[in-house]
Amino acid sequence: MSINKDLVAASSTALVLAILAEGDSYGYAILRRVRELSGGALEWTDGMLYPVLHRLERSGLIESRWAKSESGRRRKYYRMTDAGRDQLADERRQWQAVDKTLGKLWSAIADCADISVGLVPLLQRS
């Protein structure tokens, strides 16, 4: 299963912020974490993560600094700001609302499906 592009784009802010809430990180590690958590279902083209990070940085939700990595290369690390924390709380409420709504619908549909499965043979017989 792969998740459609719009959905990936829509969830990117929440994903990045939530991962940075666990601690400072950098592009490659963020991506690895997303892959790990989603079991590969959330497939980002690697390069596309960076425009997202830059957008968040520009709107002040995260901030960056260059530092030496353990391999000795210069690497750009990202850190969440207070504004980012507020935004994450907001995103979280929104996603939970979406999740809850869909959850109710899934179970409603499941009930319907049970009935209709029972009805089909009846209808076919008549």
Partner: protein, 471 residues
């Protein structure tokens, strides 16, 4: 895949491959070198992890590049995010043009013909009233031309964008309606004229403010009806600045052309002035506005954006002027000589400072660290605020004794609006310099103000005549 990527691995070949990839990346103007370094770090990390999983360097490089995404798609995505960089690169005007070069080229010439057609239409439109007995040079009844000054150029610029941008039918209708309503109102308002035919205050105020209000309608067409995003509005502000500069340049060229033609025809005893005044000047003035619009759109990459360059020159100079002014006031102990025109003078000062601020932040990289230029900017705006508040203070006690004429109410209103804008900017700018506020907040504040300018201009242009009895 490039040749280099498939040749036999030689010592250091991974480095050469990464070098080639980086060079390719850097060809795009939208990915700057820190961004490229960040992406390269990612690529190397990916390669290292793949190599650890047992792939050869070559294989690891190929997989890593593939995962990174096609460079074209990547640069497009960066361009979309960093629209300030993109603005210079012509990619912006519509997504449809991201096809191959051929269609893009024909798209441009199509636009050129459309601009030419609209320029001719504007030139014809300004001569049509002459057919109905309203010659351009004679003073016709009730100042027909000044009254309609907004409607000879702006609708054509708006039409160009309405045609060029993917604007919904409803949006186009709303634009047409806005222009039609404004035209109807202005032409039916019974403005008062003195017995000598001189117009009253409200007439002049309407003439000055209606173009500003309608310019915001052009802005709606410019952003293709999607005016909610701060970035799109900022693009429109950039466009306005460039258009102004292009227009001034074209006007200067036109002036030289006309002066020369008068001079050389004079040499053979033919007087050209009447033709120039009646035909070339009015047609040129309106036609050039449409051509300038197209030029700004088409030639963004030819010169660097000029407005930010000019602001960079004049910001320190104006800051010095204002500091010198404050110092002189303190040193000599002179107060303001309160005259009636003082409000207008300080309005103009605030407008200039506002313009300098607007165009320097429109070009600033929001992520760059605060530097000397920012402090100069803050000094300029702060000094302007101090001077303006002192002036308002001085006028304050006497403003009611001056009487509330429409001119003064309009001038006072503008002063207050600009004061609030600059005051907010100072707070946000100071917050940004101390690292408390994101630079984008400042951008949002400025672009949000477009609404207020539009609303105020519309109020002065269309409501003031009613409020003040068309005096």
């Amino acid at each position: 895949m490039d040749q280099e990527h498939t040749v036999n691995p030689a010592p250091g070949s991974l480095e050469t491959q990464i070098g080639a990839w980086r060079a390719h990346l850097r060809k795009s103007h939208t990915i700057k070198s820190p961004d490229a370094a960040e992406l390269e770090d990612h690529l190397r990390e990916q390669i290292a992890s793949l190599s650890a999983g047992g792939l050869s360097d070559d294989e690891a490089f190929l997989v890593a590049v593939k995962r990174m995404g096609a460079i074209d798609a990547l640069t497009r995505e960066f361009a979309r995010e960093h629209s300030d960089r993109l603005w210079k690169q012509l990619v912006l005007s519509s997504d449809a043009e991201q096809g191959d070069g051929e269609t893009a080229a024909s798209g441009w010439s199509r636009k050129m013909w459309m601009a030419l057609a609209l320029a001719v239409a504007a030139a014809v439109a300004i001569k049509i009233p002459a057919l109905f007995g309203l010659p351009f040079d004679a003073e016709p009844a009730r100042a027909f031309y000044p009254r309609n000054i907004s409607f000879f150029a702006l609708p054509f610029i708006a039409a160009y964008f309405a045609w060029d941008r993917p604007l919904a039918l409803r949006g186009r209708m709303a634009l047409a309606a806005a222009f039609a309503v404004a035209a109807a109102l202005v032409n039916t308002y019974p403005f008062a004229f003195s017995p000598k035919g001189e117009p009253g205050h409200t007439f002049i105020l309407t003439m000055l403010h209606l173009p500003i209000a309608l310019w915001m309608c052009v802005g709606v067409a410019y952003v293709g009806g999607r005016w909610r995003g701060s970035d799109r509005r900022m693009d429109f502000i950039r466009f306005t600045g460039e258009l102004f500069i292009y227009y001034v340049l074209i006007a200067l060229g036109g002036g030289v052309l006309m002066a020369l033609s008068v001079a050389i025809f004079e040499a053979i005893g033919i007087k050209l002035e009447p033709y120039l005044q009646n035909w070339i000047v009015p047609c040129g003035v309106v036609g050039a506005s449409v051509i300038a619009t197209w030029l700004v759109e088409a030639k963004q990459s030819v010169i660097e954006n000029m407005a930010p360059v000019l602001t960079r020159i004049f910001t320190p100079l104006f800051a010095l002027l204002l500091l010198a002014f404050i110092a002189t006031m303190v040193w000599t102990g002179r107060g303001f000589d309160v005259k009636r025109e003082i409000l207008i003078a300080f309005d103009l000062l605030l407008v200039v400072v506002f313009g300098l601020l607007l165009y320097s932040i429109s070009a600033r990289d929001g992520l760059a660290r605060p530097g000397l230029a920012d402090w100069i900017q803050l000094t300029l705006v702060g000094a302007a605020l101090v001077v303006d508040v002192l002036a308002l203070w001085a006028i304050g006690s006497r403003i009611s004794s001056f009487g509330f004429t429409p001119n003064r109410v309009a001038a006072l209103g503008e002063n207050v609006i600009l004061l609030a804008n600059l005051g907010g900017s100072v707070l946000l700018y100071a917050g940004f310099l101390r690292g408390r506020v994101a630079f984008s907040r400042l951008l949002n504040w400025q672009t949000f103000y477009l609404y207020i300018f539009a609303a105020w201009a519309a109020v002065v242009a269309l409501l003031f005549p009613l409020l003040f009895g068309f005096a």
